[in-house]
Symmetry: C2
Subunit: 482 residues, 2 copies
């Protein structure tokens, strides 16, 4: 293991964090929030110095990072930024204990949006800005990870990248991986700018428009308002956010295809079709279930149904309605969507549509074999056969994900929570969704969990965000051998 280089990469991340912290410091200046400004500076300055010092100390590290070390670097990166990013919350006393501050920040950087805050609006504006900004940075991180870092480090085996292979592959997109990451970043920034403008046109001020854009584009879900998006009670805002949540859940590589005029690639994309199909079906069922029960008109039913299904499907977690009071069938639809997630190459979490599609096709394929034992069948996606090794990789991911869900349920249940709270907490944290059912419903929060549970859930959010394998591999004896 090239320990020096691992440290060097973390040092770069540390001083980048220091520089980024100057942005919320600037926001604190604007709003004349002195205590918050001092806290941001108090963290930024020593962080910057330590980062620079570490960068200088590790100058002889060399530049070759092995596949092997990559898993550790990626995992430690997220832990480092969460640990540093939590400090302003803690130092200002806005979140009085570090466990909660760390949980909230990890929830931000993993784009989970699970909160321990009971009165969000009580926080200084600059801290709320920073809270939402962690989402946006985390989403950016995920895009680099999936499109640039994973292939760069040779993470060919990593499921997400593998799962993308049948689609417009990273290689096809552009031969220079860093180039493609830049393009996708520009797309991410461009879409964010458009959403911010649209939200302002719909009546939000710049602060609210920015923070909600951060939460939308990263499929994060933190809102600076206690009532989430319901606070605005605006049809226009609901529609804009619904559309942009859905856009954020799409494989970003497809946007590049659109820009370069390859519409055929987009129209043929199996994952996109299934993703939109699931959204349409879920919205239809929910609308029917809500109509006449929760809302009088079809229009209202459709409005709230489409927002909530888009929010859960894309793993964003914004709310315009407390679905805990919805009819059983509408709740069940949202519960089912918690097992899905966004598309691969999006900022969405969860199991992801591409994996579920591949597994479904494998299930059907198996029945063809049963009928014709000597036949040769292969599930296809985007007109390409799915390789056995790829399917087995998805199988491994899916089963470990399922196992982590059960383990998390058990751990949460030990804090005395109901079965539904425990299981939906598992779904909401591992899938980076945020809200769930019962205690952690859309108007609930994670405040009441014991300290140990919060640390455990922070780890689960990270494991889910880093596609399970990246973190779990560090716990295998094989990783530390030799």
């Amino acid at each position: 293991m090239n320990k020096l280089l691992v440290l060097r990469i973390l040092s770069v991340l540390t001083w980048i964090t220091a520089i980024i912290l100057l942005i919320p410091a600037g926001v604190a200046l604007i709003y004349r929030e002195e205590a918050a400004f001092l806290a941001f500076i108090q963290v930024a300055v020593p962080t910057g110095i330590i980062g620079a010092l570490l960068f200088w100390l590790t100058r002889k590290s060399g530049i070759t990072l092995s596949n092997h070390d990559g898993f550790l670097v990626v995992t430690l990166s997220w832990i480092t930024v969460a640990a540093l990013g939590a400090l302003p919350f803690f130092l200002t006393g806005a979140i009085p204990n570090y466990t909660d501050a760390f949980f909230e920040t990890m929830s931000g950087f993993t784009t989970t949006g699970a909160t321990i805050l009971t009165d969000i609006e009580g926080l200084p504006r600059s801290l709320l800005f920073w809270r939402s900004f962690t989402h946006w940075l985390g989403g950016m991180g995920i895009i680099v990870l999936t499109v640039a870092i994973f292939p760069l480090l040779g993470f060919k085996g990593l499921q997400l990248v593998r799962a993308e292979a049948p689609g417009p592959s990273v290689d096809k997109l552009t031969h220079k991986i860093t180039h493609s990451a830049k393009i996708l970043w520009l797309l991410y920034i461009g879409l964010s700018a458009i959403e911010t403008v649209l939200l302002m046109v719909a009546g939000m001020n710049l602060f609210d428009a920015l923070t909600h854009t951060f939460g939308t584009m990263a499929t994060g879900g933190f809102s600076p308002r206690n009532a989430s998006v319901a606070a605005y009670n605006s049809v226009a805002i609901d529609i804009i956010i619904t559309v942009f949540m859905l856009l954020a859940g799409v494989n970003f590589v497809l946007y590049y295809s659109v820009i370069t005029g390859r519409f055929r690639t987009v129209l043929r994309d199996t994952e996109l079709k299934v993703y939109l199909g699931i959204f349409a079906a879920a919205t239809a069922v929910t609308t029917v279930a809500l109509h006449g029960e929760t809302y009088r008109s079809w229009g209202e039913s459709l409005r709230y149904a489409s927002f909530q299904t888009a929010s859960i499907l894309t793993t964003t977690g914004y709310a315009t309605a407390d679905y805990l009071y919805w009819p059983g069938a509408a709740m069940a639809v949202l519960f089912l969507l918690m097992f899905v997630g966004g598309c691969a190459g999006s900022t969405g979490g969860g199991i992801k549509v591409v994996r579920l599609t591949a597994l479904f096709k494998q299930g059907i394929n198996e029945m063809s074999y049963l009928l014709h034992p000597r036949g040769v069948f292969s599930p296809h996606m985007n007109r390409t056969p799915l390789k056995k090794t790829m399917l087995l990789g998805i199988t491994g991911f899916f089963f470990l994900y399922f196992l982590l869900l059960l383990l998390t349920t058990l751990v949460v249940s030990f804090s005395g929570e109901s079965l539904l709270t425990s299981f939906s907490t598992a779904l909401a944290t591992l899938g980076n969704i945020g809200p769930g059912f019962d205690t952690i419903g859309p108007t609930g929060n994670y405040a009441a969990f014991p300290r140990g549970t919060k640390w455990f859930l922070s780890a689960i959010m990270l494991i889910g965000r880093l596609e399970v394998f990246t973190v779990l591999i560090l716990f295998t004896p094989r990783y530390w051998r030799k």
Copy 2:
């Protein structure tokens, strides 16, 4: 398709059912239950005549049944016996509508044990005997299916048989498949006899001992008592049933190994180790969770914990305690066990230990690949590498099972049930467990579900019992092509 032969096999089943119905008719005579006696005879006589007539009419069918037709025969067999077996309940008025009678009988033959009865003890003894007897016959059917019929029909692709291959395979057991089925039947009957005697020694009368043995050995769970096994409040009975539930959940082929002195095969069996490990771990956690909360002493905690974990793990569904009032962690353990099930080649349902073990090993294997992309790794079981095609078969099964769970949750939720009721109903019916949480807890029942839901759940119990593929394959267009 050899339609004549399909009909002929069903005709054999029909007159066998007619003959078997004479047994509860005899029980009705003993207890002088005239109405019930008449009902059994009213069903048995025309059924026997129709069966014999059909057998004669199909005499020119030939004797070659294709792999293809086997799926239909097996599915129709279960439907036929359930449809006929439901008639005595319906004709006596003990279960006044046919939907409920069919549900109860399908629940019996699939060894699910989900009941629509609200006052079980109100039924005539002969009907209660018949109700429990359907379990025992269903269990016998499953043993023939897994050990004799599936391989005989060339169901090589069928997951369960495939999953058994790494263990002491059916072929190794004995070259004559029908012979091995007979041996396993004798084992099933022998174990049943031992349990009956032990239960009588522990204080049960012959009727109670027999019916509870039927429910135990088939991992069925129907009890002739409203309070299930709790009605006896006997430590000895609890221990006997706990042990025999566990025995019923073991691969029956292993008993043959014991008899023929091949202890090594048994001791090396990966599935058995995992199965017992899960039971031990689940019991330990539950005992700790119960101690000081629900029960004062460690002994009591262990007694109720071990019974309930064995009951759910083996998918039996007997109860000595209402676990809905247990602490969250104890409930969560039972919830987790609902995803497991018995061993392959047992009468237990669920996903089954062998499949989960294989999938877990595949998950670990995938991480080895990530670390050493050019290495060659293969998950092993019973010291034999697991083939890729086998793992993909298990993957197909696991995903379709997961999808059916979600679909069933949605369907049940439409009847206005809570999310926990809906999801646990899915687990309890597809996994052939019987009880679940909320409305369908250990002291609850399935009475309140709407008619359509009951038919749907009857289908789900059958799909689960026949290892998913057998039934689902009939719904693929490929099955009916040509």
